[in-house]
Assembly symmetry: C3
Homo-oligomer: 343 residues x 3
Amino acid sequence: MKTNPGRFFEDYRLGEVIEHAVPRTVGHGERALYHALYPARHAIHSSDEFARACGLPSAPLDDLIAFHTVFGKTVPDISLNAVANLGYAEGRWLRPVWPGDTLRARSTVIGLKQNSNGKSGVVWVRTEGLNQHEEIVLSYVRWVMVRKRNAEAPAPKVTIPELADHVAPTHLVVPKGLDFSAYDFGLAGESYRWGDYQIGERIDHVDAVTIEEAEHMLATRLWQNTAKVHFDATARDDGRRLIYGGHVISLARALSFNGLANAQMIVALNAGAHANPCFAGDTIRAWSEVLDKAETDAPGVGALRLRLVAVRAEAPDFALRGEDGKYLPDVLLDLDYWVLAPR
Amino acid sequence: MKTNPGRFFEDYRLGEVIEHAVPRTVGHGERALYHALYPARHAIHSSDEFARACGLPSAPLDDLIAFHTVFGKTVPDISLNAVANLGYAEGRWLRPVWPGDTLRARSTVIGLKQNSNGKSGVVWVRTEGLNQHEEIVLSYVRWVMVRKRNAEAPAPKVTIPELADHVAPTHLVVPKGLDFSAYDFGLAGESYRWGDYQIGERIDHVDAVTIEEAEHMLATRLWQNTAKVHFDATARDDGRRLIYGGHVISLARALSFNGLANAQMIVALNAGAHANPCFAGDTIRAWSEVLDKAETDAPGVGALRLRLVAVRAEAPDFALRGEDGKYLPDVLLDLDYWVLAPR
Amino acid sequence: MKTNPGRFFEDYRLGEVIEHAVPRTVGHGERALYHALYPARHAIHSSDEFARACGLPSAPLDDLIAFHTVFGKTVPDISLNAVANLGYAEGRWLRPVWPGDTLRARSTVIGLKQNSNGKSGVVWVRTEGLNQHEEIVLSYVRWVMVRKRNAEAPAPKVTIPELADHVAPTHLVVPKGLDFSAYDFGLAGESYRWGDYQIGERIDHVDAVTIEEAEHMLATRLWQNTAKVHFDATARDDGRRLIYGGHVISLARALSFNGLANAQMIVALNAGAHANPCFAGDTIRAWSEVLDKAETDAPGVGALRLRLVAVRAEAPDFALRGEDGKYLPDVLLDLDYWVLAPR
């Protein structure tokens, strides 16, 4: 059989390096589509002139374009038979992606643990995105639960990687040349600077977007992510297409402009949970919480550690977890990340 | 609160200049999306070769891409709390927008009039779009009805700007270098030239398009227009998303190709009314009327003043106003503009 | 009347050459949209780096972008009043289309045959797509059934062109410079080379996609194909919009990546039938059959002749024709084409 059945749990070996297929050149077309698909307005990704005034040669592609493109490449090898996408850790953006860059991806298996039922197991991989100069632009760990092909296959030795609770501020990489010392708050859209955000502060981002089938499929295909469940209405018993979790990440991040317009560049992904499935027809809102703050060596550049939560419109304000500690049913995403903002 | 609540009527001061946020670099990606979103076929915006044969360095972006991009920038400051978009006047396209240009926008408050109920008022602004060379590419007046935050706030002095009924032909700006003396009517798609159109002539543009939610949202987001009512199905009591009036303008203009294929470039917006709201599921047709004609100094270039009317498919032919002088319920748009066509 | 009523059967003359309107510059924006609209992953169209490693200066636009753009130009002159698109033959891709190229199209009437009912007739045209250097990039024959305006109009002399059953391997044109001798199967996504495919072998491409109205309309408009029936829900009595047959071709070709990832470039279209109409809501699957194999003079490059069949998800495996020899009701497309693959 020449078609790809995807890998099963017993197909992964600790230390194995998987070179993912189909390199992709990304550019102005992908940027325009990103603006059509999400209400993205951060000025540094919107305007070459604004980016130049911040010390960059031109506007880099949105940090999440890099993430989705790299993630999409890993799907045929990592998550085609995944039961669940369990978590992210130690994600770092190491270099901007520029229009015209060609991205590819590779993953290293860094952990394996068969589930007690013997039918599936958890696979941890460190994925790296590389550009055409063989420079790593993005690195992150994710772990997924994957079915076994054959329940009789022997369990591998249990290896659970040690992962940082979050990326330490000293490990954040500021893009070369970035300089916020002449930052134009008027053009960026809001007057609040790094110093105006307090740890523990929460922001309701006000706006909401109702999702259509055509939109999430256009977005998911754009990243060459081909997981069947996003596109094929006959794949699930209920006839519904599950929305790619990354679509919710991009939507929530774009909505967070309203209140975090100066949170210009994502530099780290500390953790993330797709708390509940999202479907077309859902109306999405978002809120943020400031988790931590740090200084950087770059002129005028500070870092904010943020929690970004996406919820369905009907959720109560600042919804997160119930008394049982579990995510409330209308909570879709709980993301923990670092951004760069002007000081 | 760090999120933008929008401005209310009492926040505007006569003569105030508002620099709108988030400059935007536009290019080939936006052009491709424009062709996917609208049945746009005017050759000068479709082909670099055709544009060069008309004396331009390459195909400029569609004139309405410039309009929507500039308009979108003004929404957070001008129309976030608007009850209605009341009119346009004195719109002029002063320079083409080229792929790679970065656009920003500023508006000057030129008129204020509180409504007799004391709860809202009308604000007139002159909006200018600027490119990265600080050249004005577009200038137009629009007026909107805006709610008051506080009904007790004192009414401003009434100032109603004097606005031209329409842009005089002598004020039309022909793009530098434009030369229709070697115009290829075969490639443009129709044989009718400036001289073939008679004042009073009406054209039914024949084709029709049914609108989907995904399409108008993609379009509206592409211009970074974030007015809630276009995206959030929970914003209105009836659960319907109101379609951005500019989407109807672009759709009608594109449909008008069939009968006005040689009406290549929009150079002025004399007036415009969004006569009735438009919703997904509506099927849109368009008709035009030749209102006036003028010569220009550019070789082979004439100007046509056109009325462009968008209607729902079920409207009678050439539907406009009822016996009471009001727009018929299936009339969506009544636009008065100048275009350049080969003589 | 200034609008285009389309041509009727009696308007065509044998040997007549029709220069189609509206040249179009295509580029990175169209490529990005192609990736958003279809699950296209063939590496040579996805990555400039991969294309360079195959001897090309950069990634050419997908071969079907060329086809759709050229086809779209012919619609106003050839198929606006067509009752049916009857077939394709002798299609050859003669040169890649590069980002920035401007395409136009011309058709020559090569056959005419009035139907026995006297109300319609069959028109055969050879259509050529040309780039800005006046080089032919694509040439194919198609024939359509067209209504007569006036049933009394005299029948033309019957001329049925002699068409090749399929393009002979010696007539295939390999893009200049193409060299698969250092082909990277890992990056391409599958390990199967030309020699691994056997004549008669059939491949079920596994994946499926459910089609939305917004998607097929975006795609069809992108090629400036304005046939009313694709866009106007009021055009047919049943209120359904008929999906452009080329949308199904692109969807099936993209789905065929899974099993034919190395079938990189389409070089010939031997035949094609749109077996049944396709509508939004349909879920599409695809299967392929290897019909023939041939060598080429280019280093490492072989040719595969493939049948590509698109079916609705509910069709039986490898569905094609019933016992009566007619296409089964869930078969949508039966395409016969040549591709280039690494040896």
